[in-house]
Amino acid sequence: MKMPRTLFRGGAAEYRPGTTGRKPALHEDLFVREGRAIKKAGGALLIAKAIPGTQYNEIVEVRLSNGTVKAGQAIDISDEVTVVQVFGGVSEVDLAGTRIRCKGETLKLPVSDDLLGRVLNGMGKPIDGGPAVIPVDYLDINGEAINPASREPPAEFIETGISAIDGLNVLVRGQKLPVFSGAGLPHNRIAAQIIRQATVKGKGENFAIVFGAVGISYDDAAFFINNLRGTGALERAVAFVNTASDPAIERISTPRLALTAAEYFAWQRDMHVLVILTDMTNYCESLRELSAMREEIPSRRGYPGYMYTDLATIYERAGRIEGRKGSVTIMPILTMPDDDITHPIPDLTGYITEGQIVLSRSLERGGVYPPIDVFLSLSRMMKEGIGPGKTREDHNNVFMQLYAAYAEGAYLREISTIIGADALGDRDRLYLENADRMERLFIAQRDDEKRSVESTLDIAWELFSRLPEEDLKLISEAFIAKYLPENNRTGGDSA
């Protein structure tokens, strides 16, 4: 038997997951309905004569005549036909011998604290050679929408130790902040660094990491798992891994399984959960594949018109809830096809998430790690997460000034490629130089370097000390007096 039967057995407590040979109890058989009149098979869809009593989105078993059992889902039901989407595709299905068995269950994940430290496949079955997870509960993988009126606005600063994020694109608990990358860019290294380093200042609360690998290569998946294992983080983590060679159709479930586990830890076990989902581009490709099979009217570039809503049902599971201790923070990673940020995948994601971290190929080529494009990156939750008591009083001022100065330098860099740097005035050259220093000193760092937010801000002040003081218009004079190195030589605050 290929499929993990545990997934489909809500409430069947006597059933031990992993003991594949066991037959279901007799009374269960009474409620099993079966359809055998299959009319059509193609792609991942089976169209059968209506099976009475099937629920919308019910999980069904597809039994092939050669004995193989696959899982499927009823995606369109009527009095005449039942349309079943088959996980793993319809290869070897024959119209005469295949049967569809319905048991009245929607897709559920067995959850318990034992999930921590485990590696499961994209459908929730252990693949780390360990024993089956003994569940305390079965949760519907689609989750339930959080009532907007009971949400708590995210405001707790997460220190990632990466200056370009902590200084300019702050991540807070309960936020959904994606990484927009491109093929070959070091998004995995950055994500691994965040997993290793992320902490909330002065708090020793329970945290957990949920890692969802969606259609990535075996090597990339192994990189993450080994990274987690190597740093001892695996004890606090659970990984759901659907590699590129696994059935594409299962990718629809993988992020939902990961988030269901995350919600269990956050809302039932009071943990702060960071969810990394990579690569969501593969998820969207599967969604398009499925939509095409269903012969739906496509929207932009063949992706289905409901892709926004579908992605929202994943990303909106991030958040905080008033009166509950835990939180779900989501960091999805996606590779932009052809580095195009207007492609529907990054575009729709950006409309849902609270900002984005964008990686730049030109910085990468310039040898800057992490190659974070400060101009295109944005964290919408930043203002809530910074300031006195959270990071430092001068953070917002420093952020705005650093940004403005870098933007000016980047503009000058652009025109100096045409007119030559010699045609610029002295002041302009200062800004041009500042942009280079910013990339070398502030953005660039080692992947094992964990910078505190204070040292990140101090690097910024170091950069400001080379600029004309009267140009620091965006910083209050009190902060200039307190933090600017030249003014403060005796204090040695950041010299």
Binding site: T54, Y56, N57, I77, P153, G305, G323, L348, A423
Partner: protein, 599 residues
Amino acid sequence: MGTIWRISGPLVIAEGMRGTRVYEVVEIGEEGIVGEVIGLDGDRAVIQSHEETLGLRAGEPVRPTGRTLSAELGPGLLGSIYDGLQKSLLALISDSGEFIRRGVKAHALPRDKKWDFTPVVDKGDAVEGGDVIGTVPETPLVEHKVMVPHGVRGRISEIRRGEYTVEDMVAVVENNGDRREINLMQEWPVRMARPYRKRRDPSGLLTTGMRIIDYMFPLALGGKAAVPGGFGTGKTVTQQQLVRWAETDLNIYVGCGERGNEMADVLHSFRDLKEPKSGRPLQEKEIFIANTSNMPVVAREASIFVGVTMAEYYRDMGYDILLVADSTSRWAEAMREMGGRLEEMPGEEGFPSYMGSRLSSFYERAGRVDCIGGPERVGSVTIAGAVSPPGADFSEPVTQHTLRIVGALLSLDTSLANKRHFPAINWLTSHSQYVTAVRNWWDRFDPGWEVTRAEAQRILQKESELEEIVRLVGPESLPDDDKLLLLVARMIREDFLQQSAFSEADTYCSPEKAGLMMKTILHFHEKAKEMLDAAMPFTSVRSSAAVARIARMKEIKNEEFADKVKAIREEIDGSLGAEADRDDGTVPETAETKEGVTP
């Protein structure tokens, strides 16, 4: 009663539905989830479900309710938070916890709360639909006027005074023996516009406190505006600023298919924010609709129409209302999804061909009107709808359809947002047809506004032309007067148009302050031109102390501005006058700027 025949996502087809009407509300399945009939075919009804359909089976019952989708209207709306179907989200928390469960019912108006009703009519008075018969202090900021429902007329045979719930009878209207009890609540079908006596032109500035809107691209009361922008351009912050500071009687915020965390942020901040004039919590003049992106798609359309119906209801009391909808694109996408499921012939980019007319039917409910009934009153609904064009490409159908309907376009620009120029409203591509409608209003605060505004626009336009030259030859090779124009344009952009929503002094800018700021910048331009003519080098113009003073001008509080700006003007006259004049007292008292600008 019918039975389910087919289910596909939010689309349900039921059999045995002969006798139901299009747009009739039905209850689907054992749980009675809310659906709406959108088409009939023989005895089959095509139903769109406003709630999740997961787990439904063919053969489950479908019950027609005999009514169309309606909003409850009465005291208790203000300060509430609703989902797209006008269920109170706070009531849902106490009923079913922090997660949205389907099939749970919650009234829009609390049934147990008592309101203090004061009649304004007497027994024997003749009344008809729209007449105000009494008032209820709904919140300290808004007095609720209780009106006779449309279609009712006759003489008051009984009128009460005192504390009543929304379901209690407060008056009786009799007409030829036909007795009609009136309570504080009425219902209205959301897809139907509420009637009015006469439509007026939009007029009077809807003050938003945002300089680029009030001064450059003004909105008039009763007008309609579109706010399109790619992701990250600040649509939501702009919309939030609008409802936060608009000088209207009350505002309605429709969060349609957008982010939950942002909605939470809005709800929390409005609890803490104070209405500037009265110091009361701002939420006492706001109604929120929160239908986030992960909530059922079909309810997005309902959320828009429920919102505008509530707006019209308060308009009929003679109030000015601003309704913001964030984002209408999500509603259009919901139409596309349903259209696809219904296998309709798609129009542009898969959107149904009726999308344009559906959008119009929403925006056209904005307007300034003479209300029906006595006493005579004028009310208005102003609509600002956000549009989220895919890939920030404004040529897409939702943006284009919207632009044909609205009178003002506040176009948010990705490249400005990437430069962190906020609000990222592009001054070259935005427009407002309401300039003439608000001219008289502006002249009271800032005589000659229309002329100064045009001059500012001219400078910005000229700047964009010069920019192209700068890219080729560099800024140093321009003649001095062009360099000056670039400097002034930069001042207009950075020191006037840029405004921080997060700065205490700058988040709300009064029209007086805005007018004086622009005049100061243009005054600088005049003076500097004179000095260049008198052979002062451009570098000393650029490094003059006045430049730095103007840069910090927006941080001056609204109420202190008129006084303090005089000092800045003197600074301009002084620093751009002969250098020798420096020490004759023209340097102002506040030592805010460093004098040591070395040339």
